[in-house]
């Protein structure tokens, strides 16, 4: 089975029902590694996040997923960049208008 970056992104997005995900995945050699950023991870500890990712990949790709996917770290947007300006959501942008 060929596991691509797009397939990993799609698997994580659908299995974890990620809200507004951003992916920073890279493929070096045969392994895919990187980070996924989503508010879905807010309030969840490091262990729980890794379990979520590991389970999602196993469900999508079986045992081979663990071999082909290196490490994927999970962050919320604020954790990824605490200095980034806050993103205005549609609801906030239209509030009060």
């Amino acid at each position: 089975m060929r596991i691509t970056k797009a397939a990993v992104e799609a698997a994580l997005k659908s299995k974890l029902k990620l809200k507004e995900p951003q992916f920073r995945l890279e493929k070096w050699g045969s392994l895919i590694s990187g980070s996924v950023i989503s508010t879905t991870f807010k309030g969840k500890g490091d262990w729980r996040r890794q379990i979520m990712i590991s389970d999602a990949l196993e469900t999508a790709f079986g045992d081979i997923g663990a071999k082909r996917v290196g490490m994927i770290l999970a962050y919320t947007p604020f954790e990824w960049d605490p200095f980034a300006p806050p993103v205005r959501t549609k609801e906030k942008a239209t509030a009060g208008k």
Binding site: R24, E26, W28, G29, L31, S33, G34, S35, G43, D46, W47, R49, Q50, S54, A66, K67, G70, M71, I72, L73, A74, Y75, F78, E79, P82, F83
Partner: protein, 153 residues
């Protein structure tokens, strides 16, 4: 300027930064301690890459990850030195945490500002002092350095 730094330099520097981080922690100089302990992790990840990546070691390729621990870990993963999935899993948990709490510009951040950022990240607060959080962070950095030390031998 090219300083010709290599695996041994990065490894030694990592151990030195970790020790310095510990000294500052004991003196309750938290921002400095956190900054240096995170830098120790960067150093040891770089040492692992230098040891196992021939292209980097022979300077045929440049390490273009910058100072981002998350990217450095990704590069280490690609080297195939973390064979055991369980081992990768535990290292990922520790680096995920340190990658969240450390950033290169931390060298410009005073303790009060760091305290605010960590509070917003839920790392410290009413039930967990900055001292406790900084000590736990240092322990996690030590664990990563210890694991990666094995990969440098």
């Amino acid at each position: 300027m090219n300083y010709n730094l290599g695996q041994i330099d990065y490894r030694r520097a990592g151990l030195e930064r970790l020790r310095e981080g510990s000294i500052l922690l004991n003196r309750e100089l938290f921002a400095g301690s956190v900054y240096l302990s995170g830098r120790a992790v960067e150093c040891i990840l770089r040492a692992v890459i230098w040891k196992h990546d021939t292209e980097i070691r022979t300077r045929k390729a440049a390490l273009d990850t910058g100072h981002d621990l998350r990217e450095l870990l990704g590069r280490v993963t690609q080297l195939g030195v973390l064979e055991e999935v369980e081992y990768r899993f535990e290292l990922a948990i520790d680096v995920q945490r340190i990658g969240r709490l450390w950033f290169n510009n931390m060298r410009f951040v005073p303790t009060e500002r760091m305290k605010t950022i960590w509070w917003k990240l839920g790392e410290s607060g009413k039930r967990r002092t900055l001292k406790q959080a900084a000590a736990d962070y240092h322990d996690k950095c030590s664990a990563i350095v210890e694991r990666c030390e094995v990969l440098c031998e």
